[in-house]
Structure formats: C-alpha cells, structure tokens
C-alpha cells in the first residue's frame, strides 16, 4: 500500500473517531457491561481499524465494524481474566455474529445506547459534581484536563470523581437503562439539571472568561440538542430554547474590559439573531405542551425579552404573568425577586420595592447580593439617594464576582456626582 493511502485511512479513522467514538462507546458499555472495559475495548478497536482498513479497505459500515471488533477485544480480556480468576463468571459476553451487531447498530439500538449513557451518568445516586464530570467525559468525550480547566479544579480531582463514579455505577448496580415512563419525569430533571449546570458554568463566569468556558456553554447546547433529538420532551425543548436565548446575548453582555452591560444598555445588534430565531421557535413549541414545565416557562420569558426592540417596549405585563406561572410551578424566593423586578418595570419602582421588602421580612435572601442591588436600583430610579446608597453598600459586602463588584462601585460613584 502506498504511503499516501495509509495517511488517507488514518485521517478517515480520525474523522470516524471524532464523529462516532461516543456512539461506539455507548453501545460497547451495553454489550460488555463495564465502563472501563468498554473504553479500553473501543480504543483497541480504533487501533486495529488503522491497521486492518489500511490493508483491506474501509468497511461498508465502519461503526458496526468498530462495535464488533471492540466486543471481541472485550471478550478476550474477560477470557484472560477468567483464566486467572476462577471466581469470575465464565463469560459475561457471548460472541455473536457480526451481522447481528450490524443490525443492532443500524436499528434504533445505538441512539438508545446514547440515551442510556446520559441517564446512567446523571443517575441521582451520584453526586452532582460526579454527574457533571462523568457526562462531560463519557457522553461528550471531553478530556479530564478540559473539564478540570472549565471547573477551575485539578485534573486529578476530576479523574478521581470519574473513577469513583464508575466504581459506584458498578458496585451499587446503577442500571444502564432509560428509566421507565413512570420514573422518567423525575429522572429527566436530573439530566436537565446537569446540562443547565454545565451551561451556566460557561455562561455566568463573565470575568476572564477563557475559551474553554465559552466552549462549555456550547457543549451544553450540543448535549441538549442530542437529548432533544433522542427524547423530544417539552421540557428538553424548553431547556434548549432557554440556553439558545441566553447564549445569543453573550457578546452584548460584557464590555471589552470585562464590565457587565445590563440588558437595558445592551447593543441589540450584537445579539445572535439566527440563534434567537431558533430559540423563539423552540420556546413556542415547548410552551404549547399541555403540561407546562419550568424550562418552557423560563424559555418563554427569555423569548419575550428577545422579542422587544428595547426595554421600554418590552411586554412587562406578559413577563409578570409568566413569572406568576413559574412561581406556581416552582415556588422560590429567587423567582419572586425576578418577578418583583418585572413588576417594577410594569408598575414603577415603588411597587417593586414593596415586593422585595416582603421577601426580606420573611427573612429570605438577605445574603443574596442581587437582591440588594435590585433594591438599590429601584431606589435610584425613585431618586432616593440615601436608601440607594445603603442598599448598594449591602450588595457590595456580599458580592463575590469581580465584574459585578465593579458595576456596583460605579453605581455608587454615580450617586455622589
């Protein structure tokens, strides 16, 4: 074989690895029943592919070939193990004809396997930090180093979480399956929570936002899209819409020096309009579902914001009504605070201040800097400088994010001038 042909096969295998390796892995985990063994077998299969395809040409169904090769590699390992350790089950894997695998791989099998992998990695018996690490590693194929960089921790911490997570999956028998229809809503919640956490990690860390973190939002959107394709539940669609609509404003949210730019001051021409259009379409689709979930409602709120030319022409009455719905679906003081801000936009600052005071009188969110910042802003609008200053100062004591601190300080300086 010519040297250039070998290069060609190598490039083709690399491409197949990029596109198919997570699918191959998901199926191998089902077939061999063990995460680490499946991963090892997948890498062996890709290595053999370079060699064999270089000699015999690329097979018609490369994915089925890889799954089949990986399965035989795993069988070899199990055979070797059982020779050394008689207490192991004789053969957990029965060799089957490659044709059968091909059928399995071409049918719905593979897509189901990817869904299984997502649900297993996000099983509520795992801690949420383990769910995140496992999902990004196993489902998205991110390296341990990339995950560590994104979450500002060390690769060894992430590696440990992944190892412990896999051990718990094996030893506590966390099943490799999509939950039953009865359990699905509750279990889907934890999957959606993981995706949203990954998104927010990449989105709200606005200062010194490295490329990896922006990538993380992109990864969350990709994961959301994959889930939406596999399981077109209204809540999944709602979450994807929500992420698209938030992410569409990314460029307009911060100035070049990293300072925050509030929604009302954002240059709307910097918004990603094709993404907003898609977000609107999906938000509408999610909102049309008979049972409204929290993500669908939040997406609808984001859609109202992104439909207006500016803050004054925003339909605040509609936003307040949507927050009322959200409060019913998921009561929380944070939702109440957001609703209070929307009411202030509709009925004037005084109405907003009164609602915020109700939250504070119940003894909630007193340590939440955004509550004080919101209150300060409303006093500022009323021209009550003394109260505004006092609230900004409370916010300043509690804020931990650098751009937000700079923003509050700027507002305090403006009060003096």
């Amino acid at each position: 074989m010519e040297h250039s042909d070998i290069q060609l096969v190598r490039r083709k295998v690399e491409e197949i690895y990029r596109v198919e390796s997570r699918r191959v892995l998901a199926t191998l985990i089902r077939l061999v029943g063990e995460f680490d063994l499946a991963e090892e077998a997948m890498h062996d299969a890709f290595a053999s592919a370079v060699e064999q395809w270089g000699r015999d040409g690329i097979p018609n169904n490369p994915r089925a070939w890889l799954v089949s090769a990986g399965r035989f590699k795993a069988i070899d390992v199990i055979r070797r193990r059982s020779r050394f350790d008689a207490s192991l089950p004789k053969l957990a894997v029965k060799p089957e004809a490659a044709a059968e695998i091909e059928e399995d791989v071409d049918g719905g099998g593979v897509e189901d396997d990817r869904l299984r992998l997502i649900f297993t990695c996000c099983h509520p018996a795992l801690s949420s930090s383990t769910q995140i690490a496992l999902t990004l590693r196993e489902v998205c194929g991110l390296t341990t180093e990339a995950i560590a960089t994104a979450f500002l921790t060390t690769p060894s911490t992430i590696a440990q979480r992944i190892v412990r997570g896999k051990a718990k999956i094996r030893d506590a028998r966390i099943p490799y399956q999509v939950p039953s229809m009865e359990d699905l809503p509750a279990r889907l919640d934890s999957v959606l929570a993981v995706i949203y956490l990954v998104f927010n990690e990449g989105y709200s860390a606005s200062s010194g936002e490295s490329l990896t973190r922006a990538d993380l939002s992109g990864e969350a959107i990709r994961l959301g899209r994959l889930l939406m394709q596999l399981l077109p539940d209204p809540e999944v669609i709602g979450l994807v819409a929500l992420m698209l609509l938030h992410d569409s404003r990314r460029k307009a949210r911060t100035a070049e020096n990293g300072d925050l730019i509030l929604l009302e001051d954002q240059d709307r021409s910097l918004w990603n309009w094709p993404q907003i259009e898609e977000g609107h379409r999906l938000a509408e689709q999610a909102f049309a579902a008979p049972m409204l979930g929290v993500h669908a409602i939040q997406a609808a709120i984001a859609a109202v914001h992104t439909s207006a030319a500016d803050t004054t022409s925003t339909d605040w009455a509609k936003i307040v009504a949507l927050y009322d719905l959200l409060l019913r679906a998921e009561p929380s003081p944070i939702v109440e605070l957001n609703r209070a801000v929307a009411v202030a936009m509709r009925d004037g600052p005084q109405a907003g201040i009164e609602l915020i005071n109700v939250i504070l009188e119940r003894g909630q969110l007193a340590r939440y800097h955004l509550l004080h910042a919101a209150q300060a802003d409303l006093y500022r609008r009323l021209g009550q400088k003394v109260e505004a200053r006092s609230s900004y100062e409370s916010a300043l004591k509690l804020v931990s994010q650098e751009p937000e601190r700079r923003f509050i300080e700027k507002r305090l300086r403006e009060l003096d001038s």
């Binding site: 207490s87 089950p89 099983h123 018996a125 030893d171 506590a172 028998r173 099943p175 359990d183």
Partner: protein, 124 residues
C-alpha cells in the same frame, strides 16, 4: 444482589400508635417481598438508650453506653433485600413507611465467600 436498607429517624418523633402502624405496614411489605423472593431479613431495633458499644484496643475490651456517635437521626431498624439493581432497591426503600418520617440509606452488600447460612438468590 443484596442491599441493606438502613432506617434512620429521630427516636422521639414516633408516637406510640404511629410506631405500631409503621410496624404493621413494614410487616406487610416484608411479606410481599418474601413472595417475590426479595426478602432476606428485617427488624426494628430497640432505642439507642438500650445500646452498648464495644471496642477492643490492645487486647483490652471497653464497653460504653449508647451509640458510637451522637447524631440527630439514629439507626432504628433495617431491611436486607435482594434486588437486581439500585433502582429496584430504591423503589423498595421508598415504600417503607419509615422513609416518610426519617431517612432510608440504601447500601449494596459486599458478599463474602464462606459465610454460613442459606444463599438466597445468588445473583453474583
């Protein structure tokens, strides 16, 4: 595979009739599980005030009153079950009346070779 369901709750929080009801309901669940071949053992425990902790250090035995550590919720009983995976074990744990009042901890059992007793549903 075996799972131990450890039932923790605040001892003071059970009224006498509540406790009685809980025992009855738990017994029914145990019988139902037995029919499915999933029941291995279960028992409530007498209160922590009845407990004695034993430690042997350097060959010397010491006994102390009560449990090893003070916690808000105490171990008050257990179920040992046979389940195919953690989801099934959790489903059974959630049926226990004690789960509505306290906490049921689900722990996979490490199965040791060579222990006496019947081997129920050896699914290893």
């Amino acid at each position: 595979m075996r799972f131990m369901l450890l039932i923790y709750s605040e001892e003071g929080c059970w009224a006498e009739d509540e406790r009685e009801k809980c025992f009855q309901e738990s017994t029914q669940i145990a019988n139902a599980l037995h029919k499915e071949g999933k029941f291995l053992a279960a028992s409530p425990l007498l209160p922590v005030s009845m407990a004695t902790s034993v430690r042997v250090r350097d060959g010397k035995r010491s006994l102390t009153d009560g449990p090893f550590a003070e916690t808000r919720e105490q171990l008050g009983g257990f179920f040992m079950i046979e389940a195919k995976d953690i989801d099934e074990a959790v489903e059974i744990a959630a049926r226990l009346p004690a789960a509505r009042k306290g906490t049921v901890e689900v722990r996979p059992v490490h199965e040791l070779e060579g222990l006496p007793g019947r081997q129920v549903g050896n699914s290893k």
